[in-house]
Symmetry: C2
């Protein structure tokens, strides 16, 4: 398994020496040292757990240089050079690998090559020895962290605690801040909103974790995570809406309107700056923030309107939500008032902040980064938005249908709003807010319009992609290509706009579902983020903007292979069109002539069978006899060469339903018995990554080849037959009326290996995502007017 | 769900007042305060997150006293009393419950009753108010911890950091130690062993976590965990032995002998006492230890011989292992040398230790408590042994058969020894030890004798139950009644001896598999352990020895019900005998007359089916047609009244096999469609328990009624037909020869609810535990000579 590394910055020898001396690793007078003494010294320096020279010396006997000699014995002969094998036998131990179990003392570099670990050859003088150690300290250990971070986890950098300044090594910030003394405090930002309509501006609770060193005058950047879940989650899955119901006539649609809440302008900040009087009880929810906090970056969390400790109503997705999230940045940047408590008596300032703010977070937390970025708020320098929604319609709806995020059948915007309305848990707020909250819930439920599933002004107000012109900060998007919760369309569509803006922009696509990627084996994402935030928020010229390709895409066959691309779009590939034949083939040679039918039975058999949605999906795509009945399937021959599908495949279908309403689904599936990657990464060393020195841990993980499966879903899409004329407006439909539908499927980057074939499945009810009608409907497909087009590399 | 509480010590009013004043909760001059001022003050004191009186006052508006009044409004009227409902509406919020979602403001005490939370009524004067708060601070919150521990997690007790003394509240130690400054160090204890036969006594690495306050002269007790896994785990499941093989003729047995390793006596300690020079890199592995570390108890971990950082070979289960674990206590008690590093140059003493040592840990770590306790070593005052092995034969063998621990098919003692031989990861040790290790592995493999499965001198040396007379410390055993890894016989059989020793002894039996119980909803085990260790290791007279019943057993129908018993033995119940009939019934009325047969097919169908062992077991006990074929089953009528089976059921079977060898299994199963408890506890608030102040967390959990199942295994046993004469000696067997076997099944405490029935299953191959022969064998049971006897309440 390759430990790929993109965050290592090429460094000249002079700089290597300087940096090594600055961190007290290399003796200042190193030129006076013999080769063997220096070798011993540098190995000992890495043994941060041994506190005396005697203790360090004792440990040299625990290293093997060859199959018959320990490092202690080797050094006793006062060598003036060290062979590549000898050096890396020791180095691999320092990196946490185990002799015999991981690598062979006879050939360490063979193992290093397999793991993509860098080797410095011919260590025959002190300069080369220094270079070898510089590179080694920057080499990823078995636990995924660079050796320097492993040493940090053993306390190496506590020697610099209290120096009150940032330190850097190879362009990245070092954990030189006293994490025992982190300040954790709570303040209340005054917004311009009055969502609870009490005539007073809503206060929003903000939690800050910042280095103690900021009390001694150091100013630091803030990593701000707008997390609606921070105050707690109201569990309400049991109230999820009924999905076992018939479709309605979509022309009942009445274009529900978004209506803005009242505004109560807050005053501008005055001179007062009292210290915070409340300590944080909530915790940082993201290891990447903790890792960076140990390195000097403050972590700031705020739930926003409606969440615990804050005023107001949770109007999920609405402009008010964006505003409340944005205004926290205004306070961080010095442009807005915060109070020490909810009585609004004393103002308190973010005087510890250097005015440069980055945002982090996944899912809803990533979504709010997109939202805030579109406001162009002053102080926001960069966002690292993971698995984010770019339009709420694309989260809960698709092409005129109610479509659930994976594993969330029946969930909708109103329920998510309830989930986050955690200020109901503060009984004082509860007494005041409950009636207004109930009214808002009713309004959300009505306007989200589960009846017709159509786009409307209500959803338009929740589409951030219409405001990308406002974006001024640099941009990193991260998304899982198998994310069926926040589907890839969300990142793809905003990427098409962001990539044309005059801002730095990057995209990472991994093989996970709705997941982070900061602790994968195959890429040093955490180190990249260190480099990035140092560049964007501290202004260090560390090459971060040119260090790695614009688009990085994890391979779906080999998890430790990352494709380096300039873009993610159709035009990465060549157009190819396949046609269904009368005999259920999918070929490039031309269409079938028949009209073929299937009868959809809704959720009838599924609910009777008591199987999970994912079980259903697997059986369905595999072509299991029982489950594949209500579908048409067309399959290619086995591929002789691998083919990579890029961008958004498009399916055209001419279809008629037996009722005056209908929903059609199309899926693209890879068929072939093979061991595919695990759906979620496997944990490799639980808690094995130290984020600082005794300051929380994270776990290395990676997608791994797993047990044999028969098929894998590549992409799919769903559409309301009544949207045959316009995706944003329903039309009348007659029973039996043929209509032409054009599906843009979820975007992908998927390699079909040789030996597998590709199948197009046309069906209706998707048990895990669509409504599941109670009535049967027969769908007839005109094969002569049906095709699939995609772009392939 | 009941939050039962056993660790609350009844306290008189005078003592309540004293304790509340001592922790700066109650103002010294409280008698000068008005009722309403004192009520406000005490609520504010619990709000440890608010640091100023202003911030605390602001928060009073967040509490509701009634459906229409906040606490702030209520207090504004200067009340001279508070109603029970009003008080507990506030109290429940303080305990972390949520208005509307958890309880109803109109009737808080109804909720409290359901959760078994104590209520102090009629709070009409200051004395009653004080009592109500004293009880409230000692009441378990929603997260399972008492409110005082929740406040500790918000930093309440940091005001006492640096005072260098223990503090107690309601008989339990308080977290008043500065956990930011915990000392984590490593020393090397010199043993009397030379298991690696290098002529030098083996050193054993010991890791100590102790309060910084011990450097200022405070002496503290040590909680010692002997953990062979502490240095790391060598993953070797892939080398597990083959179990798909035929039985052998057991008379090939040759009684393999245990042979002791050489001894090299260590010198006695001298005067030298250097500070440790190595810091710990490994971590505490048990939240209970961390919880107690914050409360002043040092945590000491040692892997023992053969583990990382230590010399020697891992001879699992052997007296050498016991010795190496015991000698750490001798150092803690001042009776043995430890060095600062492996060069043995400088001695270092446990001068921070008050000489009182307790042991903690589960599984192998619990096993070593039993082992060490039998030595009667000075300094060891108590053990809390969880899910421990009391005889290694009972872990890997049963009645002349190779029987695997659950989910460990093919594992054996040699492989466990390899798992723990983590000093092979130190390359210096590897070079030296590997050849000796290989020889030892060969010896273990031979002598464990997977061929015959018989008891021998080798196993006799690994049976701690023959040495219980040496036990001098007090004793707590904890075991899961569904532990099929370390089966309940292990705890049952040693309990029968321990209960007759002149020592304090307790037993907890929970409904888990191989699990801890320190964070269950249904019992305050962590608090009990606080009380216990304070009593045993600090000598505080806190009633710990009389605070809870000798034997506590969790109910298998209602997880929040604990049976309070004097003992766990057959004689808790009345004997009852059931007989199998010719028509597959199980009745009290008399035997069938037939001889009935089944043909065992070994693992043939199981391995072909590619299902998990647990899937097999569930289908098998349910009577699934395919899987139940190779068995005989006899079932009672549905029970009209619930019946509790206690102790060890006994099954007598007259059986003949078609081969001159054979293995027979018997299982007792409850049949009935109902929602049974989850197999493992459900996590309720992940990470919601603070172990100190920003010092690690634990998660509240409990067994919960789960989805409907058809059957549940109560107990089972397996036997080699060749042991029909003697459990410790095989006999010749002829094909077709009838023999009488008497099975003692695993002990239990299992309530069969009315409506369920009881089934006796007689079978041979147990896919998850026995060998799985390649050849068929037909077993004929003489029903006239077959019966099951058990004790019922």
């Amino acid at each position: 398994m390759k430990y790929n590394q993109y965050a290592y910055v090429k460094t000249d020898h002079e700089q290597e020496v300087k940096e090594l001396i600055d961190i007290n690793f290399l003796p200042r007078n190193y030129e006076d040292w013999s080769f063997s003494d220096l070798l011993a010294k540098l190995v000992k320096m890495t043994l941060a757990e041994a506190k005396s020279d005697e203790a360090k010396t004792a440990k040299l006997a625990e290293f093997a240089v060859t199959e018959s000699q320990t490092l202690a014995d080797f050094l006793a002969d006062k060598p003036e050079k060290i062979g590549t094998n000898e050096f890396y036998n020791v180095a691999l131990q320092l990196l946490g690998y185990h002799v015999h179990y991981d690598y062979d003392l006879a050939d360490p570099t063979a193992f290093m090559q397999r793991n993509a670990l860098p080797v410095v050859k011919d260590i025959t003088n002190v300069a080369q020895l220094i270079t070898a150690f510089y590179r080694l300290l920057n080499t990823r250990s078995k636990n995924g962290q660079i050796l320097l971070d492993v040493m940090a986890g053993k306390g190496y950098f506590t020697q610099f605690w209290g120096q009150n300044k940032f330190m850097f090594f190879n362009g990245k910030a070092l954990p030189v801040f006293d994490t025992n003394k982190v300040i954790r405090e709570v303040v209340y930002v005054e917004t311009d909103l009055d969502t609870d309509q009490d005539g007073k501006s809503d206060l929003v609770q903000v939690t800050i974790f910042r280095p103690r060193e900021t009390t001694a005058g150091l100013k630091v950047p803030a990593l701000y995570t707008a997390s609606p879940y921070f105050g707690g989650i109201i569990a309400n899955e049991k109230r999820n809406h009924k999905v076992d119901e018939n479709l309605s006539d979509a022309t009942e649609w009445n274009d529900p309107q978004y209506v803005a809440s009242p505004i109560v302008k807050a005053a501008k900040p005055a001179a007062e700056d009292k210290p915070a009087t409340e300590k944080a009880v909530h915790k940082s929810s993201y290891p990447l923030n903790e890792y960076l906090l140990a390195r000097g970056f403050a972590s700031v969390f705020a739930g926003g309107i409606g969440t615990r400790g804050s005023d107001g109503l949770r109007i999920t997705g609405a402009p008010e939500e964006t505003e409340s999230a944005k205004e926290v940045i205004e306070w961080l940047h010095g442009d807005r008032i915060a109070y020490t408590d909810r009585t609004r008596k004393h103002e308190t300032k973010a005087s510890w902040c250097n005015g440069n703010i980055g945002m982090t977070g996944r899912s809803y937390l990533g979504t709010l980064q997109i939202a805030v970025a579109t406001t162009g708020v002053a102080g926001l320098k960069t966002v690292v938005s993971e698995a984010a929604i770019s339009s709420w319609y694309d989260y809960y709806r698709e092409h005129g249908l109610v479509i659930a995020p994976e594993d969330c059948q029946g969930e909708d915007l109103d329920l998510l709003a309830e989930t986050c309305q955690s200020n109901l848990w503060d009984a004082g707020s509860y007494l005041k807010i409950k009636p207004k909250y109930d009214a808002m819930q009713k309004d959300l439920l009505t306007k989200e319009d589960r009846t017709t599933g159509q786009y409307s002004d209500y959803w338009e107000a929740r589409n951030y992609r219409h405001h990308t012109d406002g974006i001024k900060c640099s941009w990193i998007s991260v998304h899982g290509l198998n994310d069926w919760n926040v589907k890839p369309k969300n990142v793809y569509k905003i990427w098409q706009k962001v990539k044309n803006l005059p801002i730095k922009h990057h995209l990472f696509l991994h093989q996970g579902p709705h997941y982070n990627m900061n602790n994968l084996v195959s890429i040093d994402f955490t180190d990249l983020m260190n480099l990035w935030f140092v560049h964007e928020l501290l202004g260090l010229k560390n090459n971060a903007d040119k260090q790695w390709p614009t688009v990085m895409i994890q391979d779906n066959l080999e998890a430790d292979k990352w494709h380096e691309e300039k873009d993610w779009a159709d035009d990465l590939g060549q157009e190819v069109v396949y046609y269904p034949t009368d005999s259920q083939e999918l070929t490039k040679d031309g269409n079938g002539k028949e009209k073929q039918s299937f009868t959809d039975v809704g959720g009838k058999e599924f609910t009777a069978a008591i199987i999970s949605e994912s079980d259903w999906q697997y059986k369905f795509i595999c072509g299991d006899e029982k489950w594949s009945k209500p579908s048409l399937r067309f399959t290619t021959d086995e591929f002789i060469h691998p083919v990579t599908i890029v961008g958004r495949p498009e399916v055209k279908v001419r279809v008629a339903g037996s009722l005056p309403k209908g929903q059609l689904s199309v899926a693209l599936v890879e068929l072939g018995d093979r061991k595919r990657l695990t759906a979620t990464p496997k944990f490799l060393m639980r808690g094995g990554q130290e984020l600082g020195y005794r300051f929380g841990t994270d776990t290395l993980q990676e997608f791994m080849p797993d047990k044999l499966t028969k098929a894998k879903l590549i992409t799919k899409a769903h559409m309301n037959l009544q949207n045959y004329q316009d995706m944003k407006k329903p039309s009348k439909l007659e029973a039996g009326q043929f209509v032409d539908l054009t599906f843009k499927l979820q975007p992908t980057y998927y390699t079909i290996p040789s030996g597998s074939s590709l199948a197009l499945i046309i069906y209706s009810t998707d048990q895990g995502m669509t409504k599941r009608p109670l009535e049967d409907e027969t769908y007839t497909i005109d094969l002569a007017q049906t095709e699939i087009k995609f772009y392939q590399k």
